[in-house]
Assembly symmetry: C2
Homo-oligomer: 237 residues x 2
DNA sequence: GTGCAAAAAATCGTATACAATTTAGTCGTC
DNA sequence: GACGACTAAATTGTATACGATTTTTTGCAC
């Protein structure tokens, strides 16, 4: 009865086999910053690493390039994306443009159980903020993104959800490159404030908080050209 | 000096060879409605048609699946996307959500020469509206989409431009399936009104017109399940 | 003639092989 | 010793080949 069952999953049945799994594994590695921007992803290496042929490795890399997480250069290979400051600005401009709309749709459709789910995410987030260690920070980054992705899922629009998937993943790359503050990339209790505003049906306030939140993340960035990037451009323009 | 040169084109140099060209060719055929929704795109057939191996055909089809223009079903093959009424609603919901924001950014950055370019597009559009024949109607559909895509290009955000690329292409599929009016799918002189509002710096009015315009397109659709779809589902569930 | 089961054909999933391009290394010349 | 051209290694681009899954056809029983 609920048409969302059709909308929530992009592919009909289980994964398209092999390539999909490899793509997800590499994407996780990129988003969790275990793969640094600019790292070369040789097709042979990826294939050997996952015990598959170069065919599947190549398919996975191409898929990642469509999401903007990997750049494939003709006859040169695939590299973990190294977003330029300008790309970073575009990513956040896109989020400022999109997320308020998603928030409004989500607020209009949200159910009590979904509110509960969101609150649980917030608890997990604050818990991770209290812990030490790299793994905790990685989990925190992921949880922070999951908040925005869950909102997109609640909005019920599979297309916007996919767009947000891409934007959140790329945001993680940008924060890895240009983030300054050692602490939480996403912030404070701003997520909680947004949920509170949604609960009290104050949509305008929720949107304002969301925009403020995104601006806050962006303000923590130092969007100056990195040396490595400059060097690369100097050698291979 | 302008870092936009890096941002405006997703791929650095010319096409990734083969697969990219095939992808574009098939995409054009889909958008121009020379390939009907639901048509099977066998890897072998596509390969033979373009005189390439199945490898490249497959890569092109996968690329199209990432754009939502074809559905690849595991072990069954690729088919020109057959958007469900629900998907159609999501596509237009996404456009309503995104396009006002793009319009605002475009209005803030637009140059006189770009205004001129837009006006030329409008002239071309009205010219095509006056002509008869399938080819003219195809060109009209394309021109109508180009208006929205040009706006996205002017906004200067390559990411939003890509999102709009996808949404406009999929909209064409939806209109092909569910459009009712035999005449212009996109409408009247609404494009012209939007440009006029932009020129007079009346952003709020421009956004209102844009939303009205999108609603107008959607209102022309008959979003009922098509029989063919039902039959197909009955035979191959 | 209808319905089901098994075999044949077609199609996709994946691996391997070869050609083309790039990159690294080497040798010779200045 | 530095620079440039040539050769060799590595990597990507594309094609072909083989195994797995699906679809169609065939054949038989009822």
């Amino acid at each position: 009865m609920n048409s969302a069952s059709n909308a929530l999953q992009t592919t009909d049945d289980s994964a398209e086999t092999g390539a999909q799994q490899i793509r997800d594994a590499i994407r996780d590695a990129i988003v969790e910053r275990r793969l640094s921007p600019g790292t070369k992803l040789s097709e042979s290496d990826v294939g050997n690493l996952f015990n598959v042929s170069r065919t599947l490795a190549r398919a996975a890399l191409q898929a990642l390039s469509y999401e903007g997480l990997v750049n494939v250069e003709k006859n040169r290979g695939a590299f973990v994306a190294y977003p330029s400051p300008d790309e970073a600005r575009q990513i956040f401009a896109a989020r400022r443009l999109i997320e308020p709309g998603i928030l409004r749709e989500a607020a209009a459709r949200i159910t009590p159980s979904e509110i509960q789910h969101l609150k649980q995410l917030l608890l997990e987030e604050t818990r991770l903020m209290g812990e030490r260690g790299q793994t905790a920070r990685r989990a925190e980054i992921k949880a922070s993104g999951d908040f925005h992705l869950t909102l997109a899922a609640i909005s019920g629009n599979a297309i916007m959800q996919r767009f947000m998937d891409e934007l959140v993943a790329r945001s993680s790359l940008v924060i890895a490159l240009y983030g300054q503050s050692t602490v939480s990339s996403c912030g404070h209790s701003e997520h909680g404030d947004i949920v509170a505003a949604m609960e009290s049906k104050d949509l305008d306030r929720a949107c304002r908080l969301m925009l403020h939140h995104i601006a806050h993340i962006e303000a923590d960035l130092d969007l100056r050209e990195r040396r490595t990037q400059g060097l690369k451009d100097a050698f291979e323009p």
